[in-house]
C-alpha cells in the first residue's frame, strides 16, 4: 500500500525540502549523501511513482475511450514512472555514493 507508506514519507520529504530551501548546493549534497536520507528519498520516489502510476491509470481508464489511444496512454503512464524513477534515482545515487 504505497498510500500508507507515503503518509510518513511525504511528511519527511516536506520537512527535508523545507530545511534545504535557500539555494545552497553544498548543503543539499551533504544532506543527500547521508545514507538514511538517500534511502528515505529513494523510498519516497518509489512509493510516490508507484502510487502515481496506479492513480493515473484510473484517470486514463475513466477519460480515454478509443481502444488504441487507451492502450498507448496506459503504456505511457508506466513508462513515464519508470523514466522519472530511473533518472531521479540515478541522480540520487550519483550524489550519495
Amino acid at each position: 500500500m504505497s498510500a500508507v507508506a507515503l503518509v510518513p514519507l511525504s511528511i519527511w520529504f516536506l520537512f527535508s525540502a523545507l530545511s534545504l530551501v535557500g539555494g545552497n548546493l553544498a548543503e543539499v549534497l551533504v544532506f543527500l549523501s547521508k545514507p538514511i536520507n538517500a534511502i528515505l528519498m529513494l523510498l519516497f520516489l518509489f512509493a510516490a511513482l508507484h502510487h502515481m502510476t496506479l492513480g493515473i491509470q484510473v484517470v486514463i481508464e475513466d477519460y480515454v475511450h478509443g481502444e488504441r489511444l487507451k492502450l498507448l496512454s496506459l503504456m505511457f503512464n508506466r513508462f513515464f514512472a519508470l523514466g522519472v524513477g530511473c533518472a531521479a534515482g540515478f541522480a540520487l545515487l550519483k550524489i550519495a555514493l
Binding site: 503518509v7 530545511s19 548546493l25 549534497l29 484517470v59
Partner: protein
Amino acid sequence: MADGPSEGGAQARSQAGSRQMPLSPHLSIYRWPITMAASIIHRATGIALTIGTLFLAWWLIAAAIGPDAYGNFTEFAATILGRLILFGLVGSLAFHLLNGLRHLAWDLGYGYEIRTARLSAALVFGLALLIALGVFTLGYMEGGNLF
C-alpha cells in the same frame, strides 16, 4: 411536452446526421456539495503532483550535475512562475495527503456518515490551505537552517 427545441437542442441538431439528444445544463447550475468538490480536487491534485514529479526529478538531476545546473534550477524556482509552481505543488501535496487520509479511513470503515464526511471534507480544505501557507511562509524565511 411539446415545446420547441431548447437552445441545447438547436445546438445539438445543427450537426446533420449525428443524432445527439439535447442536454440539460449541469455544471453551470447545480450546487457543488463539499464532498463532491473534495473528490474532484483530490483527482486534480493527484494529476498536479504527477507533473510535479518532473520538477522533483529536475531538482535531483541538477544537484547531481553540478553548480551551474543547480543554479539554473534555483534561479527558476525563485521567479514568480517558479514560486507559483512550488506553492501549487505544496498545496496539492497537503490537500492530497489529507484527503488521502480520509480515503484510508473509509477503507477501514470509518467516516461514512454524511455529516462526518462533510465535516472531514471541510477540515481537509482548511488544513490543507493552512499547511500550504505555513510551509510557504517558513520557506520564505530564508534563513534556511530550521532543523
